[in-house]
């Protein structure tokens, strides 16, 4: 994005706030605070990209991913990297899928309803208000009539359906499941984005996960960040934070970061930590801060994201078009559930390397089987879920004794799916297989995987069991705030980014209201 001509601040100047990370959490905060005239600086570990220079080539598109090594452990070790998090001005929204269902109110009260998981210390209606604000500002496409929420309206008509979409609609109809065009954070007609310019209508190029070259897809560098810069925020790219300094009273006074090999120290009145579900707890554990609850790094959650692929007699070539245009919410609370929570199903298009990786890891394929499967790539289409994942203390991020280039210990993330996750997966595989078969698949393949990095600095009502309060403020350090995927007390089955942006706006409001 364009950063020339932006206002800049000196390291020695005591700014009103430093925001670490410019993804779904950091960007809305930066824009919100700058719009109120506060002097804010974002420190972003990744580069500032020119979106037109992204490549659809899967191997090279990792330029926009967080590829520094993480160690995975447990029965269901998480595949990080491309599958998981972004790096750059815009964070993971550079390569996210932009699928934006809203959190279901029942998911925020999971514990009350089921006795399992956690409740959110936030009123669902209040969250919805912020979500509507986000949707209005960034532009979200969706159906005229949303079957599971009749009052909901989307400003933009739905994104074009591809062969996978038609397949899922056909299959759902045959098995009696309601499915329709899903909410997608992209513009389906030319859209004027304040302080950025025109974002052209989605061209159905299918490369959302490799970065949207046209700017049709919502990403922070085409929405909240241009607004932030126009309002006087500074974004410092290539700036990796590795230290946080406190003053005598125990408040954050400065942030230590390295840019182009040189160590800097930015002084600040407040700090917003928005480095994502892995880097936020890693930095906190590394600095030893805000962890009197011993909850930092605990309750790591990853959505069940199992897929069922079918082989069809027709060429599906599902690399064409927006990858996941169809949704059903019929499975949010299945009638025959033997588990707490539920899941969403979306249609799936896929590019070959990504598919083969899932086939190799989640499907155990190699050799002739793999080659044959990839030879039928263009006859394949699938559906996938985003499923509830309950928090467990022992699903946990800790530090190893291996150091990265900045001297920060690498993270080790241990994740094991428990009974509830397994039960959901079984149910979902049954449902998905029936859809894909009813749509005419001649054979099906189940591929296990997980997605998203959630819940490692949880929000709660008590300093004993949570890292931040309901406003996103640290219980231990009054001028430290966290706003990213790590504050989620429970996973919520809606894909996370919309709620992260909404929570970020809310945290900014709370910060200002607190006069902090």
């Amino acid at each position: 994005m364009r950063l020339d001509g932006m206002r800049t601040y000196d390291d020695s100047e005591v700014v009103d706030a430093v925001v670490i990370g410019t993804g779904a959490g950091g960007a809305p905060i930066l824009a919100s605070l700058a719009s109120r005239g506060l002097r804010v600086v974002a420190l972003e570990a990744g580069a500032n990209f020119d979106a037109s220079k992204y490549t659809s080539d899967e191997t090279e598109a990792v330029a926009i991913n967080w590829m520094e090594e993480r160690l995975s452990d447990g029965e269901n070790p998480t595949a990080f990297g491309q599958n998981n998090s972004g790096k750059g001005v815009g964070g993971s929204t550079l390569h996210w899928g932009a699928f934006t269902p809203r959190p279901d109110a029942r998911d925020l009260k999971l514990k009350t309803d089921s006795g399992l998981g956690e409740d959110w210390p936030i009123d669902p209606d209040e969250l919805t208000g912020y979500i509507e604000k986000v949707e209005k500002f960034v532009g979200v496409a969706g159906p005229a009539h949303y079957p599971w929420d009749p009052t909901r309206r989307y400003d933009l008509p739905p994104v074009a359906r591809n062969a996978s979409s038609d397949m899922m609609i056909r299959g759902c109809e045959a098995v009696g499941i309601t499915a329709t065009d899903g909410p997608a954070a992209l513009v389906t007609r030319d859209w004027h984005q304040p302080e950025h310019g025109v974002r052209p209508a989605c061209a159905n190029c299918g490369s959302c996960h490799q970065g949207c070259r046209s700017g049709a897809k919502v990403s922070m560098d085409t929405t909240y960040l241009p607004l932030a810069v126009a309002k006087g925020a500074e974004i410092r790219a290539d700036s990796m934070v590795h230290g946080i300094e406190l003053d005598a009273s125990g408040r954050v006074s400065a942030v230590v970061y390295t840019r182009n090999g040189i160590e800097h120290r930015q002084r600040t009145k407040a700090l917003f930590l928005c480095a994502g579900g892995v880097e936020t707890p890693r930095l906190l554990l590394h600095t030893g801060l805000a962890n009197s609850s011993d909850q930092v790094g605990r309750n790591y959650m990853a959505h069940g994201a199992t897929q069922v692929w079918g082989k069809f007699p027709t060429e599906m070539r599902s690399h064409r078009g927006y990858p996941s245009s169809i949704i059903t919410e019929d499975t949010v609370r299945p009638a025959d559930a033997d588990f707490a929570g539920g899941y969403l199903i979306q249609s799936l298009g896929v590019v070959p390397l990504t598919l083969s990786t899932t086939l190799a890891r989640g499907g155990g394929l190699w050799g002739r089987d793999m080659v044959d499967m990839m030879d039928s790539y263009r006859y394949m289409a699938g559906v996938g879920i985003n499923a509830e994942c309950l928090p467990h203390e022992d699903n946990r991020l800790t530090l190893t004794d291996e150091l990265d280039d900045f001297g920060i210990p690498k993270a080790r993330i241990s994740f094991t799916a428990h009974d509830n996750e397994d039960a959901i997966e079984k149910h979902a595989i049954r449902t998905m297989t029936s859809i894909v078969e009813a749509a005419g698949a001649t054979s099906t393949t189940v591929l296990a995987r997980t997605a998203h990095t959630i819940g490692t600095a949880r929000m709660g009502t008590s300093a004993d069991s949570a890292v931040v309060d309901a406003d996103g403020r640290s219980f231990d350090i009054p001028n430290l705030w966290i706003a990213d995927n790590s504050v989620f007390p429970s996973a919520v089955i809606a894909n996370p980014a919309l709620a992260i942006m909404a929570l970020a706006l809310r945290t900014a409001d709370r910060f200002v209201a607190a006069g902090a």
Binding site: S52, K53, T55, S56, D57, E58, E60, N65, W66, M67, E68, E69, R70, L71, S72, D73, P77, A79, F80, G81, A160, N162, A163, S165, D166, I169, R170, E173, A203, N204, C205, G206, S207, R213, S214, F312, P313, T314, E315, M316, R317, R320, G321, V351, P352, L353, S356, T357, A360, R361, W366, G367, M370, V371, M374, D375, S376, Y377, R378, T400
Partner: protein
């Protein structure tokens, strides 16, 4: 190799790779006539007259950039997507620039497989004696103030100065008449500007198979000149010196050149997979961004048959090659997947994570392959059973390598790396029917796709081989084995619920 003609998407082509030949100053495409005949069975030899020479008018411009543009247009019009650039003397500088712009995606060409320089002028200023330059400049200036061509006596001197031994009368006549019909202004442009331009930084290092040939009795562009100026830009080049030959190699030594080019192709260029013309044309088209085209161009380059592993030792590397053969059985024209994986390991390419039970990637590869040091002794069936046992955590490696659990985890990474490397090659993309890289060129209004439904195909899309065609080596057919024509709609599509 057959030279059978056939038509794909209405564009004539044949199966032979193309040699696009760029001639020397004062010459023309005719200097490659002998080579064309000698190589006809194996190559489509296409000489290109540069502006101001042969039949080509100087009107399209005689600067180096204009010559480069002229050549790019000619290649695009020809349509070959599997070619070698051959540059003689002045044509060498043009060839290096065309190669650079093809590998960086900007020329819009796709399919460069190698470069042959014959006493090539380097991208840097051409080494040339001051006297020689002054003499030739004076000939050109005299021509410009005269009838626009060089004087016969000067042409005579030029040829005599540039051969190691007298040419055959036929070749001599031809060379003389080429000098005489060339435009003096093109000479002037070369001596006053083109030959002096320093384009080395722009060309950079060209990691393409290359053959550099020098005449043993040539002047500044002989062996020493080639070593100093061209060789450093082509790390994968082999240098051949033709004893006693002067500067006009294609006229003086066509037989030896033909042999060298055949061997060069056979041993260094021709073995790997390649895309069909229809597919290559899409990569070259404005639907594919320059950046993506450059990536694909680099990946389509033939592997170095002498690749020495950087991370693995020779035994480990040999094992990895055998493992790769079982994990990705490639078909008739395999490429060096194992070599590319070793190179990626050496670059420290990470996929962002590793299983906590494993040592760092390089170490895990070394130990995992050490555990398989008997792999070569197994027959195919035993190799496959071994691999399946590893997948099932049933294989207990010997002490000092990995544990059974680690072996399973490492092999999961290994098969992902091998498979992704296979799929990243443009020829594999064609094989599996993936043209998603062509979803938008260097424009904000990227083209994307308009036909998204099952069995729908857009007019620009390349024909795709049906599954039955893929193992026969045929790279293009008009229909798929499901009987669907390119634009056909099947009954299933009509049933689709919208």
């Amino acid at each position: 190799m057959s030279a059978a003609r056939r038509t794909v998407q209405g564009v004539p082509h044949d199966d032979r790779p193309t040699l696009f030949c760029l001639h020397a100053l004062g010459s023309s495409a005719r200097e490659f006539d002998a080579l064309r005949e000698l190589l006809a069975d194996d190559f489509d030899v296409v000489g290109i007259d540069l502006p101001g020479f042969g039949e080509a008018s100087a009107a399209t411009g005689t600067s180096v950039d204009e010559m480069v543009g002229h050549v790019v247009r000619k290649i695009r019009r020809h349509g070959s997507t599997r070619f070698v650039l051959v540059g003689h003397s002045m044509g060498g500088k043009i060839a290096s620039l065309v190669a650079a712009r093809t590998l960086d995606g900007s020329s819009g060409l796709f399919g460069l497989a190698g470069v042959v320089l014959l006493a090539g002028s380097p991208p840097s200023p051409e080494p040339m004696g001051d006297d020689a330059r002054a003499q030739m400049l004076s000939w050109a200036r005299a021509g410009i103030s005269g009838d626009g061509h060089l004087a016969t006596a000067d042409a005579r001197t030029f040829i005599d100065d540039n051969v190691g031994a007298p040419l055959s009368p036929e070749n001599d006549d031809r060379a003389l008449s080429d000098v005489l019909r060339s435009a003096a202004e093109a000479w002037l442009a070369w001596f006053e500007r083109g030959s002096l331009e320093d384009r080395a930084a722009e060309v950079g290092i060209l990691d393409v198979p290359a053959l550099i040939v020098a005449g043993g009795s040539d002047g500044p562009l002989g062996e020493a000149g080639q070593r100093e100026h061209n060789l450093p830009m082509y790390p994968r080049a082999t240098l051949e010196v033709l004893a006693g030959a002067g500067h006009l190699l294609p006229l003086e030594r066509p037989d030896e050149l033909a042999d060298l080019i055949r061997v060069f192709w056979r041993e260094r260029v021709g073995s790997g997979p390649f895309v069909s013309p229809g597919f290559g044309r899409v990569i070259g088209s404005g639907r594919t961004s320059s950046q993506t085209r450059a990536i694909l161009a680099g990946r389509a380059l033939p592997d170095d048959p002498d690749y020495t592993p950087q991370v693995l030792d020779a035994a480990q590397f040999a094992t990895l090659r055998l493992v790769a053969e079982r994990v990705v059985p490639q078909g008739p024209a395999p490429f060096d997947i194992a070599g590319r994986v070793d190179a990626a390991l050496a670059r420290g390419v990470s996929d962002g994570w590793r299983n906590a039970a494993l040592p760092p990637d390089q170490e895990a590869y070394r130990l995992g392959l050490d555990a398989l040091d008997d792999f070569a002794t197994l027959d195919d069936e035993a190799k496959d059973s071994r691999i399946q046992a590893i997948v099932d955590q049933q294989y207990a490696p010997r002490a000092g390598t990995l544990t059974a659990e680690q072996m399973t985890l490492w092999f999961e990474d290994c098969r992902v790396d091998l498979t992704r490397t296979w799929l990243a090659h443009p020829a594999t993309m064609e094989r599996i029917g993936f043209d998603g890289f062509a979803n938008g060129g260097d424009v904000i209004r990227i083209q994307g796709f308009t036909e998204l439904g099952a069995d729908r195909r857009e007019a620009w899309e390349p024909a795709m081989p049906g599954p039955s065609a893929r193992d026969t080596g045929a790279s293009t057919t008009e229909t798929t084995d499901t009987g669907i024509t390119d634009t056909g709609i099947t009954d299933t599509e009509k049933e689709t619920v919208r």
